[in-house]
Subunit: 424 residues, 2 copies
């Protein structure tokens, strides 16, 4: 009855977006479902959390992205389940949407590894809500420190970041620069030297997915920015007043940022699917979900494997390539298995400093930073966002400033002084 097959894509992250884009103007009807109305450029989230960018500068409204695509439709909804037998996706508003092809691209969320004490007290940095909450929390904490008793000031000015991967490293560097650039001039009540930023990593080096030399470079650069980097530091408990490490070390702090793990989104956890030990859906070499014809899984929620059998990392490049590959599968333009082409990885540490690796090459310092700039501007969605973000970066570079420093909440009864407390 249906003239063209319907492709339902669950999630408009890097994988889902690329898949929908590649299906534009193809003889299929595409329904892209996300619980946000925007595509989020997650690699720059830490810049929102550190007062450099505005949320809208890294969020591309999905209806705008697809405004010229007549066969791509968008639906703002939470997906609560999939009926694989009936070939329908269940939405939280009760509706069931039929699919001929289903692409599960629901991404990942912060993983607290079941530790409720951490989950309830730590701040995540995985979506825009979390980034804004973290930004507001840091700004409110600085304000509280200006009027606190000296014993409390110490605790309020200690910021503890757990996890030495790219997010932890980038946020630690950005926070150190925020403190260095803004505090001496705008918080005369505070001693800039009283600010302590502690970065805890359980392993023996930072950036474990990069080569060792780069992790060591990042550690030195962060130390240079004044960050207290602790390797081999395993968190035992987090309570209202701070963090206790295994071995007994104690960090009194009002700010715990958790970047130490991600896990596939809940929708991926369906009991009807096979999962690897990290909860990612098992797929065959063509990214088809095992045992469910017409269903594909891509990105952080899928256990796609490289030629050597290792699963691909939970970062954006494999998701983007997989999205385009699945689109080609659906339209019959490829037959062979999915082959991931690793184009390299990058992480900034601060002003004029970044690390990266591309194939056999690795680079650091200014070179890395320039490559990082070009790559991130290129991959930002939307010409206008590129312009505004370039302007912000140029401004930040020339003026040593962090412009976006207002404590703003969407609820008129929050965001006032009274809301300066730790979010619950």
């Amino acid at each position: 009855m249906r003239a063209v097959p319907r492709v339902v894509i669950v999630g408009a992250g890097f994988g889902g977006l690329q898949c929908a884009r590649a299906l534009r103007d193809e003889p299929v009807e595409v329904l892209l479902i996300d619980r946000h109305n925007y595509h989020l450029f997650t690699p720059l989230l830490y810049q929102v959390a550190s007062c450099l960018l505005s949320p809208s500068e890294i969020a591309a409204p999905l209806r705008k992205v697809f405004r010229r695509a007549r066969n791509v439709h968008f639906r703002l909804a939470d997906v609560v389940g999939v009926d694989f037998a009936a070939r329908t996706v269940q939405l939280s508003d009760g509706e069931a949407v039929h699919y001929d092809h289903l692409v599960l691209a629901a991404g990942s969320t912060t993983n607290y590894f079941g530790n409720d004490a951490i989950a309830s007290r730590a701040l995540g940095l995985k979506d825009l809500g979390e980034a804004l909450q973290l930004r507001n929390h840091v700004l409110a904490t600085l304000e509280r420190a200006t009027v606190a008793a000296s014993i409390d000031v110490e605790q309020l000015l200690t910021f503890c970041i757990i996890g030495g991967g790219p997010t932890g490293v980038e946020y630690a560097g950005a926070l150190a620069e925020l403190a260095r650039l803004v505090l001496p001039y705008e918080y005369p009540e505070l001693r800039p030297s009283a600010v302590r930023i502690v970065l805890l990593e359980g392993g023996d080096r930072l950036l474990p997915t990069f080569r060792a030399r780069l992790g060591e470079y990042a550690r030195r650069e962060l130390a240079h920015l004044g960050v207290d980097v602790r390797l081999g530091a395993l968190v035992d408990t987090v309570d209202d007043d701070g963090v206790t490490l295994r071995g007994g070390d104690r960090i009194e702090t009002a700010t715990v940022v958790w970047t130490a793990g991600v896990r596939p989104s809940d929708i991926t956890a369906s009991a009807e699917l096979e999962h690897d030990r990290r909860g990612r859906v098992e797929v065959d070499e063509c990214l088809r979900v095992v045992g469910h014809p017409g269903v594909y899984a891509i990105g952080d929620g899928a256990a796609a494997r490289d030629r050597d059998g290792t699963t691909l990392p939970m970062v954006s490049p494999p998701a983007m390539q997989a999205g385009r590959y699945v689109a080609a599968q659906i339209t019959g333009r490829v037959r062979g298995p999915f082959r991931y082409r690793d184009k390299g990885t990058l992480a900034t540490i601060g002003r004029r400093s970044a690390v990266g690796e591309v194939g056999p090459f690795s680079f650091t310092g200014l070179t890395g930073w320039l490559v990082w700039l070009v790559v991130h501007i290129y991959y930002l969605i939307g010409f206008e966002n590129r312009l505004v973000v370039m302007f912000r970066w140029a401004w930040y570079y020339v003026r040593y400033d962090r412009p976006v420093r207002s404590l703003i909440a969407a609820d008129p009864h929050r965001g006032s002084a009274a809301a300066g407390d730790r979010p619950v």
Copy 2:
């Protein structure tokens, strides 16, 4: 004991900000208190609510504004009262702050005239939280309309704005343009002609503070944009499904925006002060609060009078001039009474259309719009905000776009599809 007198300014709106700026480098110690950490450029709030500007573009962080002012300090706090006998200001955290001179500049808030039914159901447009809530509500309502039954679509696509002053007129025009520019291209599920924007004004013309010709021009221009302007329309009740007018007319709507009144902030209501019938603090011709030496009141919360005895309007120019005047009073640079110089008023209606009056002159259309542009860029606080806002406006002008269209809430558990409902 104190080397220099301490001036406490309550509120960092137009009046408080100008007062603090004028006291920069003077032989006084200034403490500026606000419950937000930014100065808000309220005349552009409607552009945040209609997806054109980002919040940070009209919010200037106060510590940044005063970063070079050694004698101006900022305190993020809610003021809960003033002890005039002890010369202290009481803060919500329990602290009492001493003053030698006190400037009450606490501004105004939305006035629902004690009508709880309206207060609980209508959306205001007086601070950044309200503007964001309104933006998110409109975006969520459009999304809901794309999947609703046709009877509900009608209600969801009806937007009712109560109050025909500048805020109501500007927001009605901006919303009409948002619908016209975005809906046909990005919401194929909706018929653009199904959008209904109703502007209700109780009096017999729009913009009652402008001359009659301009109110009539605004009415014609809004009608041209498709806005259903109803004069002499008095609201009887607001319920969950819409608005009932006196006389029985009924508007079924999911969106009620209330711009029909402002009242002085609660802190101004102290029983120890004399008030006019609108709740504004009575001041003498030098803006001193009657009966309380050392205390001044300025802006929306003060009943400052013109030469002819009429109280000044609750808009920004009198507040700004009063702020500078009081600073000069405190430093002894003026002795005479406060004289308000009316430089005119402006309101935009849409792309290339605005009304304004300056002294004996009034203007409309493109001239008004260009004057409006220059004035608003000039008065925006912060060079960088001026650049970014100019860029946004140029972009909007050339591309017919409304760029800031992401549904974002600071709380990670809101802002998802499930939060699309009417705010409570």
